[in-house]
Symmetry: C2
Subunit: 363 residues, 2 copies
């Protein structure tokens, strides 16, 4: 292998893929990244056996070849080099990396030992605008669980219903659902939330489109020069939609920034009670109040002006309120609920394409 | 106690003093900050018995009084409030904090139980431009030790010699010395480096002057509305000046940014060897090179153009080189040494007021 790449391109490719490589894996080679020529391009790739990310970059290839090198060292090293041309030359398993002022040798491991993700056979393919999918996933992924003992809940659920694509996630304490766009294909995919986080990181804002290809076991997202393949989670996702109430006795609309600020301030007094705060909708005063009590430290009440109907209160985890408000990207939001025991809904003031459901705490 | 302050002032005072309060202390009240009226001002103070910081802010005082309240909660709470007027009212030991939209009660502990630092009797006082002292301390504090088993080396040494004030610090592996300014008073103070860090944090760039008052046990720095008192470390500081060579067989001058960059890149390959890199001054090639070898991972050589005389090499800890280069704030720096075994000097290309000395490693 003998080739030239620019520092900018190699650095971008390594920063997209190297995160997947981990030295905590039982297979030592998984701490490496694969560098391989493919025609007149260089493919930089890494996998942890659950997910694989591949980034193709332009290159001047004199001799083809492949090698794997330690991901962290290589990424840090290339990131530290000045911009400009970098020469890569393989000598047995030693990768010589040289520029004008820097000469280094990184000891590699042959690429033959590097595991390959199985390719997708007979898959369905559809396309989605990159920005649309990115925003939708950002709005729901926060609600996914990271508890591996309930693998279904660690997924983001891509599914179609009545010709619309939805993405949803729940950890059983809160749930987020976003209507993405009309889609003809029938889809039902459980994509690991950790892979969704990786996908969000590699979607470049300049890319117009993401192509999604999947079979029963895997899904491939292609975004520009990057391919991300991840295993799917097996099983049937809970029928969450029946949990979402349709009518509400209490409802209030207020500025999202005000709601977030009174929640943040109150949460300081809720550290003893694991974040538990009481939201009070007051129709007469036309306000929303948040009350928290820390027996040792003191107590706090904060209020914000709102359009309110149906005075009532409900006890919620302040972190979930903040996560929900953060996921809703409109200036005004509504909170709606039926008494202390039923799920509480946060949603944009207008539009019906996003819902954030929070289960109440006992008060 | 009943008074009004602005959120801006109270927030600034708390962020300056609350850091000193710690809940890891054996005395629970030391996790609190003291809030006390003094005439028409409010004094916000905290101490850990080694250092005390007091910040005076303007206030509309209706009734005088004092209380101590949990530092972290109070700081986080006040920081979260919108800017504007805050009302404080003490009801027994409960501090009521109210604004237009926020009402909270923080449970306090009476101020009588709060320890007071002894005042300085018969001290000497002198003044120094705030910016001059700030820059000088920033340039030397990095070389102080944080190993409490050798308390002398955890100090920054303020001392006068031939009518000049110097500050210096060493952890025995590297040493930094800065000539600050002419000073008539004779000074010899061992100020804990941790207190110097706290002092650096509270020096506001708008303050023209720092007043320094000290006796044998303590030193008081007064900067605008802030007073910082710290205990001094007892003992005699090592006579470090005899360690500093005056003549050099090898010397090179180069751009500080280049030197820092080749050191950073080489240090990536020096992780196995605890940061050890070899600096090579090459008179013929008029360059400085840095070489590092990681037996497992590979090796690296990086070079930068320099004015060099006396080809030779020396092995140093790359972190100390970077700390030294970071402390020197000129565009060009010189490195000077006599063979592999004697101390190596980093200094600005011009001027004799700053020195950074690094002991070599065995190579």
């Amino acid at each position: 292998m003998k080739l030239q790449v620019t520092q900018e391109n190699l650095n971008r490719a390594l920063s997209n893929v190297a995160r997947v490589a981990s030295s905590r894996n039982t297979l030592p080679i998984l701490a490496n990244v694969l560098i391989k020529t493919v025609d007149n391009r260089v493919c930089v790739a890494a996998t942890n056996l659950n997910i694989a990310i591949t980034h193709y970059i332009g290159s001047k290839v004199a001799d083809g070849g492949s090698i794997t090198v330690p991901a962290r060292l290589t990424q840090d090293f290339i990131a530290s080099l000045p911009s400009g041309v970098i020469n890569l030359k393989l000598d047995d398993t030693k990768l010589h990396i040289t520029t004008d002022k820097y000469k280094s040798v990184i000891n590699g491991t042959p690429a033959d030992d590097y595991p390959v993700m199985p390719s997708i056979q007979d898959g369905k393919t559809w396309k989605v605008p990159a920005e649309t999918l990115k925003k939708a996933l950002q709005q729901v992924v926060v609600a996914a669980s990271n508890d591996d003992t309930r693998p279904l809940l660690t997924a983001v659920y891509f599914h179609t219903k009545e010709g619309q694509l939805y993405v949803a996630a729940t950890d059983s304490y809160r749930l987020a659902e976003k209507k993405v766009m009309p889609l003809k294909e029938e889809v039902s995919l459980l994509v690991p939330a950790t892979s969704v986080q990786d996908l969000l990181r590699v979607i470049n804002d300049n890319e117009p489109e993401i192509s999604v290809t999947h079979d029963d076991q895997q899904v491939l997202f292609s975004v520009g020069d990057i391919e991300l393949v991840t295993r799917l989670i097996e099983g049937s996702y809970p029928d969450y939609q029946k949990l979402i109430p349709k009518e509400f006795a209490t409802s209030a609309t207020l500025a999202r920034a005000d709601f977030a600020n009174i929640t943040k301030v109150s949460s300081l007094f809720a550290r003893e009670s694991a974040g538990s705060v009481t939201v009070e909708v007051d129709e007469k005063a036309q306000q929303v109040g948040i009350r928290s009590i820390a027996s040792q430290l003191g107590e706090n009440t904060a209020t914000a002006t709102a359009e309110a109907s149906g005075s009532a209160s409900i006890t919620l985890n302040s972190r979930y309120i903040l996560d929900g408000l953060n996921a809703i990207n409109t200036d005004e939001v509504s909170i709606q609920f039926n008494g202390k025991l039923e799920p509480c809904i946060l949603r944009p003031k207008t539009g019906d394409d996003y819902l954030h459901v929070i289960m109440p705490l006992k008060s």
